[in-house]
Symmetry: C2
Subunit: 549 residues, 2 copies
């Protein structure tokens, strides 16, 4: 999906709990790109609003045009609009920009009074809001007092006291011309038994609960019982003839500054991502609820929500053209010195020069034969641990490849005077056992990814050595000797297309696996440990060969 963008037309809150600051955090937390047109600056903190600096209506319109002229916008939310001129300017800007077309999903939060009681909407603006903006809106999201204000007439105050009143009020509000109404019940006292009573009379009303435990969830130790009739919060959505109640437990929290901004921005973000309205409201209610529930205290009054409760650090960057293998790059660069001790080992350099003592090479190929048995068994374990025929088949193919190449390996040994009998009868060196048994231990301990991690250092390291020697050999006056080098065949094998193809496949597999299942910090640390251990075990393998010479 390309970038989905949402525009917030609202006030600025210097303490960043509400206003465009809350809007942009919410939009970002939903994976969308947020833009803003600021209607008024507030000098504000968690204890209240200290001052307001309204922005000229024409400058509000300018900001809207700057954004819409350049950035494809999939949803728009309005918050604090402050006065009639600004409301009118917003309506005109939207009508002008989308003249002849369709305005994107528009969620209108008719902010009128701050949590701390500060007026954020000029009384004259209310009528403009109702007459001009609501008819463009897909949804309006008043709270109790905003709904009461909107439904009052001179000398006739309107009162919403319970969930039954709310259900009536959404019907009245719908007449103002928006496609739907969400009346927020945070300040309406209600209980589960009120709701149950209402539902007995109105079978057409749908209920969407969250976080309410039913019977037989005693184990969660949060038992809802008929007796205690715990506090709940109900938001009421009305679309056409459909009424839906979104119900959740009441939270006893001081972190509620900007709840309304957050909810309407979350709905707009969900709509921008393609959710239908009911799904959008459902997810936004949960997002906001968890934002309040998981908030840490900030400031001395009503603190902000935790807008990023649903995100954790990502360890491996996204692959890009410049860095197509970010996971492998992290592994290799994160352990560069040990990696170099392995792939630039004296064994490799002498082998490239053709001056490696034959005894060292013989020790190596004999032990490599033993190692290959562990290697094949590790792929057997990988097959046993796999859950798809594709993965089972691919692991099995590796075993078959190893077995098919045993004859080549034996010929290589023969050419250095090692008979198959001697090959079979030479005892395993401790470095071989350490490495081979470690592979199988990782396969026993962990999941397939851990086993793949253990198999990676061998695959990549020999690939690197092959590439490095080939590249060095191609340079003028190279230290790498090909003609008459007794180890030329070995170099060819590892720099050849066949082995390099396998390396490429393995590299892409591990990158794809890590991208599809991004590891936590703890899991990445585990993988890294396996990678580093195997890098050292590989070095140890060549150390042992050198020591044998």
């Amino acid at each position: 999906m390309s970038v989905r963008s949402a525009l917030a037309i609202a006030g600025s809150d210097s303490s960043a709990g509400a206003g465009i600051q809350a809007d942009l955090k919410t939009i970002a937390a939903h994976g969308c790109y947020g833009t803003s047109a600021i209607t008024a600056l507030t000098s504000q903190n968690t204890t209240g609003v200290q001052a307001i600096h309204p922005v000229p209506a024409e400058f509000v319109a300018k900001q809207i045009h700057s954004v819409l002229d350049d950035i494809e916008t999939h949803a728009i939310k309005t918050g604090m609009l402050y006065d009639a001129d600004i409301v009118h300017a917003v309506v005109t800007a939207l009508r002008t920009h989308y003249a002849g077309g369709t305005i994107p999903h528009l969620v209108c939060d008719p902010v009128s009074v701050s949590t701390s009681g500060h007026s954020l909407l000029d009384p004259q603006a209310v009528q403009v809001l109702v007459d001009e903006l609501f008819p463009l809106a897909e949804l309006i999201t008043p709270n109790k007092s905003e709904a009461e204000l909107l439904l009052s007439h001179v000398g006739m105050p309107y009162q919403i006291s319970n969930v039954r009143d709310m259900v009536v009020a959404v019907g009245n509000l719908l007449r103002y011309g928006s496609k739907a109404v969400l009346l927020k019940g945070g300040h309406v006292t209600t209980s589960m038994s009120d709701v149950k009573q209402l539902l007995r009379e109105r079978a057409d009303i749908e209920v969407v609960p969250y976080g309410l435990l039913s019977e037989n969830m005693e184990i969660l130790q949060l038992v809802e019982t008929e007796e205690s009739d715990p506090g709940i919060v109900v938001d009421v959505l009305r679309q056409g003839r459909e009424t839906t109640l979104f119900i959740r437990p009441q939270l006893d929290s001081g972190s509620t500054h900007g709840t309304g901004c957050t909810l309407s921005s979350a709905i707009a973000s969900q709509l921008a991502r393609g959710s239908d309205l009911k799904e959008a409201v459902k997810n936004a209610v949960v997002y906001t609820y968890l934002g309040i529930q998981t908030a840490d205290p900030v400031g001395h009054g009503h603190g902000p929500l935790n807008h990023f409760h649903a995100l954790v650090p990502k360890i491996i960057p996204r692959p890009t053209q410049q860095n197509p293998h970010p996971f492998t790059q992290l592994l290799i660069q994160g352990n560069a010195s040990e990696w170099k001790e392995y792939v630039e080992h004296d064994f490799v350099k002498l082998l490239g020069r053709g001056t490696l003592p034959v005894k060292a090479f013989v020790h190596f190929i004999v032990q490599d034969y033993h190692y290959l048995k562990y290697y094949a068994r590790a792929y057997g374990l990988l097959a046993a641990k796999s859950t798809s025929f594709e993965a089972i088949g691919s692991a099995t193919q590796t075993i078959i490849n190893v077995i098919n190449e045993l004859d080549t390996h034996k010929s290589l040994c023969e050419s250095f005077g090692v008979t198959t009998e001697r090959l079979e009868n030479t005892a395993e060196a401790p470095a071989t056992t350490a490495y081979g048994a470690y592979l199988l231990d990782m396969g026993l301990q962990g999941d397939t990814m851990k086993l793949l991690m253990a198999l990676l250092a061998c695959l990549l390291g020999y690939g690197e050595v092959g590439l490095w020697l080939r590249k060095q050999a191609s340079l003028p006056r190279s230290w790498v000797v090909l003609d008459g080098n007794p180890y030329a065949k070995w170099m060819e094998d590892y720099s050849g297309a066949h082995y390099q193809g396998a390396v490429k496949l393995g590299l892409e597999l591990i990158e794809a696996r890590a991208a599809a299942d991004p590891p936590s910090q703890a899991r990445f640390a585990e993988w890294k440990e396996v990678w580093e251990r195997c890098t050292r075990l590989e070095k140890g393998f060549w150390d042992a060969a050198m020591a044998a010479a």
Copy 2:
């Protein structure tokens, strides 16, 4: 760590790529809480700045006071300050608020011209910036043209053309009174060989590279060679007598709108979290680099960075007082109907009433005996897969508990007329094999967490049944019968403190494991599948008992 907070004093960018919008996103991406004092509104998009609405200097000061009076602030960054009055107001607000104390880490980005060439700082303001603000700053972060502007004198333009000029310029800039200077080299053409030449002459200069591949990383297929001398970007940090170069590959990207705002906010966030300056710059440079590298296109001009490249969705909410077991709650509520079919099984209800056919109960306890062998073996596998003595010991203790309770199990069987011989010789029912072998398969396939997931439904379900029956029994006119119920002992066992204690431990272990290693969406889906499968296998176990009656 309590919430770390950073204040951004800067302009607003309606397109949200730069200004306080970029600042707040950056601060949030670093896990800090960001606040803002807006100095000027810009009507802006990725193609340029269309209009500016400066904010009265006294209102800028008001916003600063609103934030600092209420929210403990650990770092401050300044960006676009627009005119001399605003610079002066900012300095006065900070001096007044921190009179007699210490101003937090202050990073000053001397924004003067937008990427698109729009002037963002009144010429008269430059001197006020230098005279009044720089002496308060821990770091100033000019780019090439800002540094040239700051170092120019009437009739004497200053020119920075290469990395050598940069190293000289940071020394000159340091004289303006900030504790340190970071000169950004995004617009300075340089190469690796320039840097190497410089380092040969100046052994005192430290280099901090990122993303540059050294030899023997051929496998990553991004080969840096002496021949091609690829483009690099160098930022130069000067602190006291220390000079450090931060080097990275040049990126060919159109997504650079707000790079400077992002970098300075990232440094401020790192300082707020307690990093020292060099570490802060190092991490901020990488953060910004990856933000450019991973950005998706937005708008028609220079697009914004990807500020949230280092975050992925979190599946399990943070535990709170209201929801201490969020992982288990997700599992149980996510599969409520199957969970209920299991724990509210007819077998349980009839057992509670005391009317369960003896044949059903006998089938159950005989098969449970076979199941316990799988269960013990699964814990043996868990011990074998564990990496700490604590985990090995705890798995082993469970096996010992199972074995110790076999005598009790056998006595229960005897009391229903089943001899130990019959117990041993009764064939395993398919439902038993299915469940038991599934446990071992999960243990073979996955890591310890997957095995624990497989063991969870049994542990929690029997705990739930025990609690439910006990709670029901305690109600007036309960359907649960204790007196004369042949299964009373069984109920007692599972509702008793001993078993419930084990349930609590298991629940807390699984929650702690999931919190310490938060699963990706893919991994959570795997865990959920195991949980749901075991819930059905448990139900199947009781189905088989009922069918035997």
